[in-house]
Subunit: 543 residues, 2 copies
Amino acid sequence: MIHGAMQDWPLLVWKLIDHAAENHGAREVVSLTCEGVVNRSTWASVRARARRVAAALRAMGIQPGDRVGTLAWNTHRHVESWYGISGMGGVAHTINPRLFEDQIVYIANHAEDRVLFLDLTFVNLVEKLAPRMPTIEHYVLLTDRAHMPATSLKLICYEEWIAAAAPDEPWTELPETAPAGLCYTSGTTGNPKGVEYTHRSNVLHAMAACMTDTFGVGACSTVLPIAPMYHANAWSIPYTTAACGAKLVMGGPHFDAPTLQKLIIDEGVDLALAVPTVWLTMLQHLEKNGGGLGRLRATGVGGSAVPQAMIEAFDQLHNVRVMQLWGMTEMSPLGTVGTPTPEVAALPYEQEMVYRVKQGRPIFGVEMCLKDEAGNRLPRDGKTFGRLMVRGPWIVGRYFKGDGGEVLDAEGWFDTGDIATIDELGYMQIVDRSKDVIKSGGEWISSIDLENVAVGCPGVAEAAVIGLPHPKWDERPLLIIVRKEGSNVTEADIRAYLAGKIARWWMPDAIEFVDEIPHTATGKIKKVALREMFRNYRLPAAA
Amino acid sequence: MIHGAMQDWPLLVWKLIDHAAENHGAREVVSLTCEGVVNRSTWASVRARARRVAAALRAMGIQPGDRVGTLAWNTHRHVESWYGISGMGGVAHTINPRLFEDQIVYIANHAEDRVLFLDLTFVNLVEKLAPRMPTIEHYVLLTDRAHMPATSLKLICYEEWIAAAAPDEPWTELPETAPAGLCYTSGTTGNPKGVEYTHRSNVLHAMAACMTDTFGVGACSTVLPIAPMYHANAWSIPYTTAACGAKLVMGGPHFDAPTLQKLIIDEGVDLALAVPTVWLTMLQHLEKNGGGLGRLRATGVGGSAVPQAMIEAFDQLHNVRVMQLWGMTEMSPLGTVGTPTPEVAALPYEQEMVYRVKQGRPIFGVEMCLKDEAGNRLPRDGKTFGRLMVRGPWIVGRYFKGDGGEVLDAEGWFDTGDIATIDELGYMQIVDRSKDVIKSGGEWISSIDLENVAVGCPGVAEAAVIGLPHPKWDERPLLIIVRKEGSNVTEADIRAYLAGKIARWWMPDAIEFVDEIPHTATGKIKKVALREMFRNYRLPAAA
């Protein structure tokens, strides 16, 4: 095969920050910091300081391919460190500080991090964990001399460290498939697994994120990623805003509604991105206190399904468009975006909503299909449940160090672990996690759909559904209910409520009442714990 | 170097059409055809038919890497052929039918085209040229049986040919650096040189073109590329619209204002792209006949500088935004786009115009700098003239078959052959072609700027400036004037008009009057011919 004659120009992450600094150098990068102030920086300054980070890491003996961890909030210093680490060939390993201590230790050791950048918030935590993280040779505290704390840790002061570094060393030339970042999944079962992003995957993802139907951002945009950098690169916003020269606004350690509202208004944010719980809190705050959301035109909402009521509240009370996003750490993270097609945009509001509650359409670069248990392709009819499979240049090919073995099927598809439908217009909707869906007589019952209906029954505070073994149907649903305070809703009440609202064969075989349903740190129902709780439970034989 | 663990997903052109067919299958592709009808197709149909083209070419014995020529207008059949050719590994070689016959023959032979797809328009031309193009084994006429003409050529009927082809053969798997397309520059000196696009360069360019600040197109857009596919891939619109699922509208052989106006209105076009002369004609037509431009929100204008009066007319009379574009065949073609930065958007109209008449800002993926004759970097101050140098993944690394030898400098920059300025906000402005700029005493005089001022002098119909050798200053300007009919404007009148409007040292050393100035096929002044005409001319010694 003869190769074409275009220039060899590898897709490297530092080309994003170079583009921003050279063409949008004066555009602002604004952060609320851990020291409690607003820091006003620019893309030119972020690049200049990131180059010093790269030089300082080289001077420490860090080599291309080495992992450098961060335990930090969204600030300019975290962005500088990030570009600096991957700009010298290092792998920027963002650690989620909300994990259990044992998990943080496991992850830092598994990654063999040689340096750890940390925010003031985490000094006590790291003081405690340091003896258990032997690969870490240096701790860099993301602050200035005035804020250096008294601690037993041997801390490097970030501002002094970069001030002393060489200012003008060029970035490291690398093949575009070199690793640039590392992020561990917060696996609910087993140890977290690492997803290693490459320069190529991050740059392609940033370009796709800048597309009009994805985030629709450009040089006139002001973007606030509330999603933290340790959640799949803050959904790529620090890359995306550099690629298009947008103004970047970051909240540091602050996630409370009043602070975020003030930041959105003061900085003229027009797009802000966060998980639904952040927006739920914001809506409640706005309802109580008013004040609006300034120039905000859209919220990017991902991480879990967006309730219809939230979409309606933003539309009707705040003239803000909810842009539903779906992705995962393994996907860098973007897979689908809920921007409308012309067919959907032309629908009356109620019918448009049918599509808006779905997770959206795949962006270019993400291939998507549904497969059954045997690996056969399923139709895109909006009804058929199937395993959601994805392929693309920013989707994981194998986990870091090969953990979990082969993760692609024979055709190269990655199994998302989700059960979904895809409709004729290309909108995907998550139905359930594949480990939670109930396989009943060759058909699938969505535990999430059942829960959503059941929770509407008067007197029900919370509902969870798990599948239990059944001699005839393989699995059948058990519905677990937490009653509202003071309610004495009965099994018969709930059955009467469900009848007609669900397919008859979806009717749970049993309903149990409990005082509490266990949750994960991010508020999701802990199905694993529920299954353990009901391990010896026997469904009535009649069904 | 350890490589990261993202999926291996080569950037191949057929993934663009797969994305469109799978996620936007029902979106329309509308063409005016050579047979004089409106053809309504869809992305799903274009993909299905393109796969048949691929199968039919394979059945003919065409191999990956072979060149397949097209002499065709913008229609669905041309787009199908294009995706079909590169989808089986062939190189889609779009030939400009407006070239001189000898150039067409030279190009077809140089490319060693094995097949030629042609439109009805070109049957007579090809009949005449076929004996001189011995590498072409098959001629495919892009029409149906009913429209097959009587001709001595052995023509394959496109519709019958693809109807008989295998429908379901998969696309050819290729490395992303494999060639996908070939386009010759219409070199004003010497033979045309081929620019060979790769799958990678075309896909990256399409992604960049979909960015909000580039074309700003998405699934709700309707785009009309008036720029032909043989002009640098119709500025990538058939790739770009597939990548984002936009509706694609094409005018076939029609370039007249009434037909284009009707098409824009009837199909709801919101972005249309063409060279300035097309828009000039359209503005004149609208002024006379009214009728407006329907939903059109923007015109992409490139190929030569856009006059300020055109920007103002579109703004003020039609509420249509002129989006100035700059690029070249060697750049796939996009380099800069004139979308505003927030600083520019905030300016009063007159001051904003200072930036809007410039050629725009580089998009991500295009690096740009100015160098002097010695190769030193020049400042971005909006004033300093320099050679405009570019780097990026969709910019030529060498010409096809190595013609012209090494074309990159030691740092990998490609010399665009333009002299330009870049200002502090990143806006680039073309000052002149480097071969036309007048090098006077170490300083540069823009022949274009001088011409633009001179043409404003009452009685002047057209003005051209060339540099002539000068014993003291190396070169000095000669101004060549065509008088308006009935005018008897004199040299003294013109000198009086220029005085105060140009730097004193820019004043031409001599002014000559001619009846006619020679032009290229695309309407540009033929400076080469002028220099030949004035080869023995002696400037007065006094200056």
